[in-house]
């Protein structure tokens, strides 16, 4: 079992490092009796899911943790058309967990029809006598289409007697106002670097390892205030070399190294040929399911780190321009390459102007 799972707080009163006060509030809320729909939002690795699961456990007891994975095809009849939606759900006796955006552009059927059916057909459990029968736990609500979010809003009202929704998303600004106002929004902030460090020390203590504070600091800094990343990184360091040394290499992810390498190649040579070569690299990254926005961000950062101050402003401007296009349009690769080509042109012009 990975440390990320092993040392996850399962109950609301076990939160020790991050989100302590949030957990306390939630505990009181659950103790109060009725619990509204919940919307957790915050950056990746801040502990949203941990909190959400802890809340469910607080309500239903440890039975929530017995989950089974189920892939099912839902057949939905809408007027003349028959639509099939494939969806993987994880469910316990008390709750169902799903990621409706997995269904792609059929997400609105998931939100409207699948939830409706499940809400109807769920047996009344003895444990579910707290006013609602079960909970739906939906992840990544911000990736849902607008139609699906509207559907969600109707579902929330219609079945609020029968069930509760727990929504999790990264960016709350992509969630409709109507949905937001129907939930209790809970912001899960990213932990501070000191909190991450404390977490690392705690985990090391439980694993009976001696962790030099320098290394802990560096791992924490490298993690960009992401707890999952920090723990994974620590575990990778442990796998790589133990006993720890303070100046040990902090293990990063391979795709980041790859992006850094692309940045180097861009700076080495600016030509259509090199551009073509980088296109292959970009495809490789995309194929590995790295989201284009992240590639773009990382690449712009890497480039900005290595260029002259005078250029930084312009590069940032172009990166922002094409990043917006990424969000707007399809075919991410073209926009990314357009940015790289633009950077090459700008950089080459600058090099020629300054060095001749």
């Amino acid at each position: 079992m990975l440390w990320v799972d092993k040392h996850r707080p399962h109950a609301l009163d076990k939160f020790a490092h991050a989100n302590v006060s949030t957990a306390e509030h939630l505990k009181r809320l659950v103790a109060d009796g009725d619990c509204p729909h919940l919307l957790f939002y915050g950056v990746s690795g801040a502990g949203k899911k941990t909190l959400a699961l802890a809340v469910l456990r607080e309500i239903f007891g440890p039975g929530v943790e017995k989950v089974k994975v189920e892939g099912k095809t839902w057949k939905i009849e809408q007027g003349e058309r028959k639509i099939e939606v494939e969806l993987t759900t994880m469910s316990s006796n008390y709750h169902v967990e799903m990621n409706p955006s997995d269904a792609g552009n059929k997400d609105r059927y998931v939100v409207q029809e699948v939830i409706k059916e499940m809400a109807k057909s769920r047996p009344i459990d003895a444990a579910g006598n707290q006013g609602f029968k079960g909970a739906f736990y939906l992840t990544l609500v911000d990736n849902l289409s607008k139609e699906a979010q509207h559907g969600l809003r109707r579902t929330m009202e219609k079945y609020s007697q029968a069930c509760r929704l727990v929504l999790v998303c990264n960016s709350v600004s992509k969630v409709l106002d109507a949905v937001r106002s129907r939930c209790l929004p809970i912001r899960v902030a990213a932990p501070s670097t000191t909190e991450v460090e404390a977490l690392l020390h705690d985990v090391a203590k439980r694993e009976k390892l001696t962790l030099p504070p320098e290394l802990a600091g560096r791992v924490a800094a490298h993690s960009e205030r992401n707890m999952r990343r920090a723990l994974l990184s620590l575990e990778a360091c442990r796998a790589h070399q133990y006993p720890f040394t303070p100046d040990q290499v902090v293990q990063g992810t391979d795709w980041e190294a790859y992006v850094a390498q692309i940045a180097n190649e861009i700076l080495q040579e600016q030509s259509p040929k090199r551009l073509l070569q980088i296109r292959g690299r970009l495809y490789e990254l995309l194929v590995n399911c790295i989201p284009p926005e992240l590639i773009m961000k990382k690449l712009a950062r890497e480039l900005c780190r290595k260029i002259d101050v005078e250029l930084k402003h312009e590069v940032a401007k172009h990166a922002a321009f094409f990043e917006r296009r990424l969000a707007e349009g399809s075919k991410a690769i073209i926009h990314m390459e357009a940015f790289i080509a633009k950077f090459m042109a700008v950089y080459k012009k600058y090099i020629i102007a300054s060095f001749g």
């Binding site: 799972d5 290499v249 391979d254 075919k331 390459e337 080509a341």
Partner: protein, 671 residues
């Protein structure tokens, strides 16, 4: 028109011979029974078969393709208690019937001649059927519809090939290259797939070329002779050339020409015109000379835009521009030779003919849907001199010398219209190939061109939304497939505009200071489709991975954080491999040949070790690759640098350094 004579037919004798050979061999039970005939329309495939069959006195039975019933129609008629059967279903039942035929045939071949009288007692009729052989002819194979349907038809064809004991000829009309574009974009099964599948199932494959001019002329002459018409050889030649090897088209043209001009009295007039035609061809000014009482001159006027002088015919097939030609026209950036400034400035309004009006219109469209900055750039593409006159209300303005280009020799919209490329395909093809056509120092041009393509993609994306792209496939390349019967007809102004932006952008991007290297480049198919497919399969693995692991909340976190770190952990020591709960079993990389999944790779020694040690490992852990995947593979695959060996060596060395120092990747990041 039926051909009864070998000399009348336009098909080469060699093909006829191989047809005969196939037909002869069919009598042996283990010879290929199914013949696949592929060729362009009007190349005489069916005619050749009929001729050969008639020679051997074999009947031809055609599959009567039913009138396809539309689903909506069926819904409407459902009260009438009719059964719905699609064309594919009908084809399926035909194939089933075809194998029934085979049973009878098999019986017949096993029966020795002595037992024939016994047979004839049973049924006179059936016996006769055995005696006279039958060729099944399938001409209208329903290779349309969704992917599943097409696959079904392919399976049926394969089954037919394997099981049929009756000689069966399947005729396919080969479309031009436009349809292959579709194949490359992965939304239709093309003829090459059919050929591959059927030949592997044991069918005999015979390809037909479009008939040559001499053959056509020969055929036309004999027809003219039979109809007692007199045409000059030049005229017939013209008809033959204009029909582009399509016999049917040539004969119809001949018929139309001959309308009302039968008889000896008109013959002289005809020959007179033929002479005039020859003259016209010589002086290459056919439009100016008008035989106003003759319909042909009108046609000549119409054709003059589309055809080269030598191809000017009376009734020509309106030939589509093949996709690769169209792309070539754009990519090679053909422009008129620089004209002297003086001559151009004399008549800057000379463009006010049809084509220029068309351009203006397209520009207006762009003007509506696009940012203002575009206007100056787009409008300068036809700039022939510094001054451009735009209609009456806008005054002439000067174009910056850097933005000036020589006039285009082809209208980009015309290229798109003529070819079967839609905006999506054009954009992706141009994107894939555009960089090859730039000299190595022209980064700025590359940036400009790709910027235009990115504009076009943006427009296309909005097209998607505007049409309510919920149920459509996620890929924009599928969009036109859903939209109806004519995949080539652009349906929205936005799509038109996107096509214009991408082609014109690519036209405009290479600045005139860099001479475009005029050498041959191989056009590549867009890789985007492949990437999407691989990403989808990996995404599935990722979901399985998430379902396995409780801690991850989203695909993103899994792909970006957890999975890469797990790989790192798994690679460190054999002992650590066991700590990793689960790594995707199939993980595809982009470089992999034919996108084959990584199933056949070896287990890493560590995983083997773990399972040997007898400890309980819930999931066998596999590492992605023996070293940290991405970095390693990039050193292996360097296809782009083949021509520049010194550079390749340099890059390989740097990459090998990276590979060697996978542990110290932070250092590389910092350097």
């Amino acid at each position: 028109m039926l051909y009864t004579n070998e000399s009348d037919i336009v098909v080469a004798k060699k093909k006829l011979d191989s047809l005969r050979e196939w037909l002869w061999n069919c009598r042996q039970p283990d010879a290929p029974q199914v013949l696949l005939m592929v060729g362009p329309a009007g190349s005489g495939k069916s005619a050749a078969l009929r001729l050969v069959a008639a020679e051997a006195e074999i009947k031809i039975r055609e599959w009567n393709a039913p009138v396809p019933m539309l689903w909506k129609e069926f819904k409407h008629m459902s009260a009438l208690d009719t059964n719905y059967s699609s064309k594919v279903d009908d084809f399926g039942s035909f194939v089933a019937r075809a194998s029934k035929y085979s049973l009878l045939k098999l019986e017949a071949s096993q029966i020795s001649p002595s037992s024939i009288p016994f047979m004839s007692l049973n049924s006179e009729k059936e016996h006769r059927r055995h005696e006279t052989d039958v060729i099944l002819l399938v001409e209208d194979v329903p290779l349309r519809g969704s992917k599943e349907q097409q696959q079904h038809v392919l399976d049926l064809l394969q089954r037919l090939t394997r099981e049929s004991r009756t000689p069966t000829a399947i005729v396919f009309s080969e479309e031009d290259l436009g349809s292959r574009i579709g194949e490359l974009q992965d939304y239709s099964i093309g003829i090459s797939t059919v050929i591959r599948v059927m030949v592997s199932a044991g069918a005999r494959y015979l390809s037909f070329n479009s008939s040559t001019v001499t053959r056509l002329v020969k055929a036309l002459t004999s027809i003219a002779h039979a109809e007692r018409l007199t045409f000059s050889p030049v005229e017939l030649m013209e008809i033959a050339i204009a029909s582009k090897g399509d016999v049917r088209c040539a004969i119809t043209s001949l018929q139309l020409l001959a309308c009302g001009v039968k008889g000896v009295s008109v013959q002289s007039k005809e020959s007179h015109f033929a002479l005039a035609d020859m003259n016209r061809m010589k002086i290459k000014a056919c439009a100016s000379l008008a035989g106003d009482d003759d319909i042909r001159s009108v046609r000549l006027l119409e054709c003059r835009d589309n055809l080269k002088v030598s191809e000017k015919g009376n009734f020509c097939r309106d030939h589509a521009l093949s996709a690769f030609h169209a792309l070539g026209k754009v990519l090679y950036n053909k422009r008129c030779l620089p004209v002297t400034k003086a001559s151009m400035s004399e008549a800057p309004t000379n463009f006010s003919d049809n084509s220029f009006d068309k351009k203006l219109k397209s520009k207006r469209i762009k003007f509506d849907g696009f940012a203002e900055g575009m206007f100056s750039l787009v409008s300068t593409k036809e700039s022939t001199s510094c001054i451009l006159q735009f209609g009456n209300d806008v005054g002439p303005f000067c174009v910056h010398p850097q933005l000036q280009r020589h006039p285009l020799s082809n209208d980009p919209e015309w290229i798109l219209f003529k070819s079967k490329l839609n905006a999506v395909a054009a954009t992706s093809f141009l994107y894939e190939n555009f960089l090859d056509f730039l000299p190595n120092e022209a980064v700025k041009d590359a940036a400009l061109g790709i910027r235009y393509l990115s504009d076009a993609v943006l427009l296309l994306k909005r097209t998607n939304e505007g049409l309510g792209g919920h149920d459509r496939g996620g890929l924009s390349s599928h969009i036109q497939f859903d939209r109806g019967d004519s995949p080539t007809a652009p349906t929205s102004v936005r799509e038109l505009a996107a096509g214009s932006v991408s082609t014109r952008g690519v036209f405009f991007a290479p600045s005139s200071t860099h001479a475009t290297p005029r050498r041959w480049h191989q056009l590549r198919a867009p890789q985007g489709v492949k990437a999407t497919r691989v990403t989808a399969s990996n995404m599935q693995e990722l979901r399985a991975f998430i379902a396995e692991d409780f801690s991850i909340s989203s695909n993103l976190a899994a792909a970006v954080e957890t999975l890469p770190m797990l790989r790192v952990i798994a690679l460190c020591t054999p002992k650590e491999t066991m700590r990793v709960p689960y790594l995707p079993f199939r993980w595809t990389n982009f470089d992999d040949e034919q996108c084959s999944a990584r199933r056949d790779r070896e287990y890493p020694a560590s995983a083997r070790h773990a399972s040997w040690s007898g400890e309980v490992v819930s999931k066998e852990a596999y590492s992605w690759h023996n070293t940290s995947g991405i970095v390693y593979r990039s050193s292996r695959a360097e296809p782009f640098l083949n021509d520049d060996s010194s550079q390749q060596v340099r890059i390989n060395i740097t990459l090998q350094n990276i590979v060697a120092s996978t542990g110290e990747r932070d250092d590389i990041e910092d350097c």
